[in-house]
């Protein structure tokens, strides 16, 4: 089995639209949440979202032909291309070569296409103007739109696919891509996921009563994972991208190794034993974390940092109980834990990849990103783990092993373990 190195990182996140700005934001605990009047005007209960407002699709102009650039409307694909090209160039690989790369592929997931773009097409259809639509829409509206655009831009000749598993998508993409290298079927993979900034998607979560409606006047305080008064999550958007590379190949070309992917596991609770379409089965979550540790050959006692799913709903306390059970650690023995969502909101299908990028940056640079907005930790959570485990101020700390998990609708789970590279 091949070892897998992470040799490139890219991101478009609500609180940072490239790796330098994102690193600074997570290190300092800077929020990317905004009040959006448009949501208020459409009778949403939650009017806050994590949107990469500073992102300018113009950064893609240099990579794309004018025809492609001018017709690119889907924000999920814009974010994906920006993150993937940043990761690719970060790995010191050239964009836009003339030959395809048979040893390099891409797994880049999303949950749904950009529904705002879909509506544009539907509106023209309803106005009997479908003949005016033009040719470059299905390639953006197909589920594999992002991976197809990335594959074409970078000339990828190995597997080029999109995965989709709701909020588990991003972490699952990284695990699937790593497996491709581990099994020897590819030397290099671009892995990641993206989520469009689509109010139509946020609206259906609002209707489910799972978004926080209590902090529209304090947007940066609206995402409150682990807090005693958390009342739902804040939706977000963006993309995260990683270049994964077979270990010896990465060493041979002198690539920067940000981390090793020690192992990962993906499973489902089958919507049994407490698992439903929308709630994860604790049995399956615990099994997923345990299997990831086993495959990575990592003991629970070695974990320095847990990067949780932790969205800011009443499910946070169940998640903490599951981590305690899976790691066999609780109270003072529980490792440090954080969640990026307090700064970005929940970037849905992009969450896992953006959070994986964040986890690796913490590992590489030796710091722990603070959890914002949990001034008062939920008492049931402090009943299980020490308050000291919940990092609330920026901390510079050498960490060696990070476990990260995400859970998605459909009772699906993914868990990955990153280790620091020691030359």
């Amino acid at each position: 089995m091949n070892r897998v190195a992470v040799t490139g990182l890219g991101v478009v996140a609500p609180n940072g639209i490239n790796i330098p700005s994102f690193t600074q934001a997570i290190r300092s605990g800077t929020s990317g949440l905004h009040y959006l009047q448009d949501l208020k005007d459409h009778a949403m209960g939650c009017c806050v979202a994590g949107v990469p407002l500073e992102f300018d699709a113009g950064v893609l102009r240099k990579y794309l032909s004018p025809g492609v650039f001018n017709s690119l409307r889907s924000s999920n694909i814009q974010y994906a291309l920006a993150a993937a090209t940043e990761a690719w160039e970060d790995a010191r690989l050239p964009v836009g070569g003339t030959d395809s790369l048979p040893d390099t592929g891409c797994i880049f997931g999303n949950s749904v296409c950009d529904v705002d773009h879909m509506r544009y097409a539907i509106d023209l259809f309803e106005k009997l103007e479908v003949q005016r639509l033009g040719v470059r829409h299905i390639e953006q509206l197909m589920s594999s739109g992002a991976s197809a655009y990335i594959g074409g831009l970078l000339g990828l000749g190995n597997q080029v696919s999109a995965n989709s598993s709701a909020c588990s998508t991003g972490t699952e993409a990284v695990i699937l891509a790593a497996e491709r290298i581990r099994s020897g079927q590819a030397t290099r993979m671009v892995a990641g996921s993206c989520e469009a900034s689509s109010r139509y998607i946020w609206a259906v979560f609002d209707a489910m009563r799972v978004l926080n409606r209590n902090h529209n006047d304090q947007p940066q305080a609206a995402s409150r994972p682990l807090s005693a008064d958390s009342a739902g999550f804040i939706p977000g958007s963006g993309a995260g991208a990683l270049v994964l590379e077979e270990w010896e190949h990465a060493l041979a070309r002198g690539a920067t190794i940000y981390a090793e992917i020690a192992g990962g596991f993906v499973n489902s609770g089958g919507q049994r034993a407490g698992g439903t379409m929308t709630a994860p089965s604790s049995v399956a979550v615990t099994r997923c974390i345990g299997s990831a540790l086993e495959l990575a050959g990592v003991r629970a006692g070695e974990i320095d940092l847990v990067c949780g799913h932790l969205t800011g709903t009443f499910a946070d306390k169940t998640e903490i109980a599951n981590w305690c059970a899976a790691l066999g650690r609780s109270g003072e023995d529980f490792p440090a834990i954080n969640t990026l969502k307090s700064l970005t909101g929940h970037c849905i299908s992009a969450a896992g990849s953006i959070e994986s990028v964040a986890a690796i940056l913490q590992l590489h640079h030796g710091f722990i990103q603070p959890n914002r907005n949990c001034e008062t930790i939920h008492p049931e959570i402090t009943g299980m783990i020490s308050a000291g485990s919940i990092i609330r101020e920026p901390v510079d700390r050498e960490i060696h092993t990070v476990v990260k998990a995400n859970f998605g609708f459909g009772d699906v789970n993914s868990c990955i373990i990153f280790k620091k590279y020691k030359p």
């Binding site: 209960g45 009563r209 409606r213 009342a231 929308t278 709630a279 009443f314």
Partner: protein, 93 residues
């Protein structure tokens, strides 16, 4: 409305979300009965029932409260409370 009347209406709302084989459980349920563990209901369907109750009674139940409505009695308590608040707000104006 009396608590008993609200309970009867709640039962008929719940019935629509329950499997046929589970519906007889409604005849023996008490205020301590839990929606998910005792009646085999999906927690997300409970949110739908809360939305129906909000529309039926013209009340609002906060998101963070919904997550705590595990039992029939807790659900009745919050509906009754919101109806009382609505009544006193109405009589004040």
């Amino acid at each position: 409305m009396t608590r008993e009347e609200i309970l009867e209406e709640l039962k008929s709302m719940m019935r629509e979300y329950m499997r046929e084989e589970d519906r007889p459980l409604l005849d023996t349920m008490t205020e301590k009965t839990q929606f998910v563990t005792d009646l085999n209901m999906d927690s997300i369907d409970l949110v739908d029932i809360v939305i129906k109750a909000e529309n039926r009674y013209g009340i609002e139940i906060k998101n963070e409260t919904i997550g705590k409505l595990n039992t029939v009695g807790a659900c009745l308590d919050v509906i009754e409370q919101r109806l009382k608040e609505k009544e006193s707000a109405g009589s004040a104006t």
